[in-house]
């Protein structure tokens, strides 16, 4: 029995050591790769110098590139990847359905719509209200858009107090189409200065990272990550069914509410800053479940780290493949993710895991 406990803990530790290792590796590669190649040794020197650990002569250009361009973008990418992966895992657990992802139930497009409306309407007609608060207005409205779209999707799909997954997905598709249509109209009337291209909202863009944006993204994402990870145990019970979870002592409605609000918060904020990046929320939790375990105490934190890894990995390609231009990040996440996902699907089907 003691041995068994150790084994369980060993497996848990192993998955996190492995994922954190991958993440660290990707962080160093990502900082080094680009128009200006910087070796891992130089990266270490620059950080050591910057943090005052020891004085060593470093290349000023490299230091500038790292601290002004690559590091903020890297942290930005990491936070957004973590938000998407973790929210995907939470929502899949909550709806007991491996098909659910933040995009499917309308959070992403609702958030994009909210953000676009702020930029279009407020900026055009009430620029004085915006002022310095502009940085905050966009995430707040993105959150409102995301949560309204989610609540509408849920209300449409509820029947006799229960959420039917077929209706949920259909309602989500409907909400997404509606929001996309309105986004389309908004973009049609927008001038270039107001909106970036359609690509920004539909395929995402990570090149917009700045330290200022991180000051908003970081606290919101951290809060959501902490709250969602706490839900792991009740989500395990909900995976058996809502009635079963209630009988086991889970406050089901409360857990549902908190899970939806904080998933919507994390995803909406990500969308407000980087547009809609699909696929991470769907595929990462699956990869984690198939590689490690379906226990949410592992799946939730591991999906956050895994989401960060996938997005950093994808971003390395997005900004180097056609340099100095950039490929839309959403294209890369789909290109990398889909073949791997199909491979996992085929093997999982053989093992009857799905």
């Amino acid at each position: 029995m003691e041995l068994n406990l150790k084994l369980v803990k060993g497996k848990y530790a192993f998955s996190f050591i492995l994922l954190t290792g991958i993440l660290l590796g990707l962080l160093i590669i990502s900082l080094g790769i680009g128009a200006l190649e910087i070796t891992p040794l130089e990266i270490l020197k620059i950080f050591a110098n910057h943090l005052g650990i020891f004085e060593t002569p470093v290349d000023n250009t490299m230091e500038l590139v790292i601290f002004n361009i690559r590091l903020p973008r890297l942290i930005f990418t990491m936070l957004i990847g973590a938000s998407l992966g973790l929210s995907g895992a939470t929502l899949q657990g909550l709806f007991k359905n491996p098909l659910v992802e933040p995009g499917i139930i309308g959070i992403s497009s609702g958030a994009a719509l909210g953000a676009i409306l702020v930029i279009m309407v407020l900026e055009r007609f009430f620029p004085e209200i915006l002022g310095i608060a502009r940085q905050w207005f966009i995430p707040v409205f993105a959150f409102l858009g995301g949560i309204i779209a989610t609540i509408m999707t849920l209300k449409i799909s509820q029947f006799e107090g229960k959420t039917k997954v077929t209706y949920l997905i259909l309602a989500g598709v409907a909400m997404t189409s509606l929001a996309s249509a309105i986004i389309g109209i908004a973009i049609f009337y927008a001038d270039d200065a107001q909106l970036r291209t359609f690509t920004f909202w539909t395929l995402g863009d990570l090149s917009v990272a700045t330290w200022d944006k991180l000051a908003i993204l970081f606290p919101i994402t951290s809060l959501s990550v902490i709250v969602l990870i706490i839900l792991a145990k009740p989500l395990n019970a909900i995976a058996l069914g809502e009635a079963e979870a209630f009988h086991s002592g889970v406050a089901v409605e409360k857990v549902k509410f908190v899970a939806i609000v904080f998933s919507a918060l994390a995803v909406s904020t990500a969308v407000a800053f980087s547009g809609i990046i699909g696929f991470v929320g769907l595929v990462v939790p699956h990869i984690i479940r198939m590689c490690f375990n379906a226990d949410h105490t592992i799946v939730l934190p591991a999906s956050a780290i895994g989401g960060a890894c996938l997005l950093i990995f994808a971003d390395i390609f997005a900004r180097t493949l056609v340099a100095p231009a950039e490929l839309p990040i959403g294209v890369i996440t789909a290109l990398i993710g889909t073949p791997f996902f199909i491979y996992l699907l085929i093997t999982a089907k053989k093992k009857r895991l799905i």
């Binding site: 657990g93 007991k96 995976a239 058996l240 069914g241 226990d295 009857r352």
Partner: protein, 273 residues
């Protein structure tokens, strides 16, 4: 003891339950029987706290059900559903572990309880198998292990186990083994309440029985007292015979085949004539 007093429930104008009185005693297997739509499931949902809108009162171990927090209630009573679908690759042990959610016990204690329940249910060799790859009968045994884990405790307080048509997807041997497990719990100060479709399973395992029909109580009491031809016929609107096999009563519903063949003969003769 669970004492349910004058439980009534209406949805719109239709009566789901009317003045139902029931006692679920620790150490006793109580079966609820009745045709579809009799209100059996509603009664169980009310007793488990799942349905909160009804009239009447429920006391569990002397305390009103509303005064329990949901975790306290879950440490006292567990519910085994008809069948449970799990869409994620959980192992058997992970599913069973969910039974400890409401308890504040240490991981080591939980592990000990799980090992004990695995042994009792004969699932020790299954604990690392994936739940999704099990057969229907095996899955139900895992769920049984989960609910046993939930009410496994070291306190002297009586615990309760509710079974909602637990045998509907099981074969003959599996039905006997599952209800046998439930029956064995009655020796550990557990009160069992089971909705059963099969009257013969009910007569075989139940100490007490409640007959429900359209929300009304037809009979309630000791099994040997209430298993009577007229009660069963009134409850199910169908003629039955009861035969006694070495003290166990066996209920045989009238199949009507006799009549049908007579009708068939009449039709055939009619045709010839």
């Amino acid at each position: 003891m669970i004492i349910a007093k004058d439980i009534s429930k209406k949805i719109g104008k239709s009566v789901i339950l009317k003045d139902c009185n029931l006692r679920v005693k620790p150490g006793c297997f109580t079966a609820v029987v009745g045709p579809n739509g009799a209100g059996k499931s509603s009664l169980m949902k009310i007793l488990s706290g799942e349905i909160a809108s009804y009239s009447g009162s429920i006391r569990i171990n002397g305390k009103n059900i509303h005064h329990y927090k949901s975790k306290e209630l879950s440490a006292l009573r567990a519910v085994l559903p008809q069948h449970t679908i799990v869409n994620f690759p959980f192992t058997v042990e992970q599913v069973i572990e969910i039974g400890r959610y409401a308890h504040q016990t240490t991981t080591a204690t939980n592990q000990k309880i799980i090992e004990e329940v695995l042994r009792l249910t004969g699932l020790t060799d299954f604990k690392n198998r994936l739940y999704q790859t099990l057969s229907g009968g095996e899955k139900q045994r895992v769920q049984m292990a989960r609910v046993m884990t939930q009410i496994h405790d070291f306190s002297p307080e009586p615990k309760y186990l509710f079974l909602d048509e637990p045998t509907s997807s099981l074969d003959l041997a599996q039905q006997q083994s599952l209800l046998g497990l439930a029956k064995s719990l009655t020796q550990k100060n557990v009160g069992v309440l089971a909705i059963l479709h099969d009257l013969n399973l009910a007569t075989q395992f139940a100490d007490e029985m409640l007959f429900l029909k359209k929300g009304e109580t037809i009979a309630v009491g000791k099994a040997e007292v209430v298993i009577k031809q007229d009660i069963i016929e009134e409850t199910f609107n169908h003629p039955v015979r009861i035969i006694n096999d070495n003290g166990q009563k066996i209920i045989i519903p009238d199949s009507g085949i006799q009549n049908k063949s007579e009708n068939l003969n009449a039709i055939t003769y009619g045709h010839i004539n």
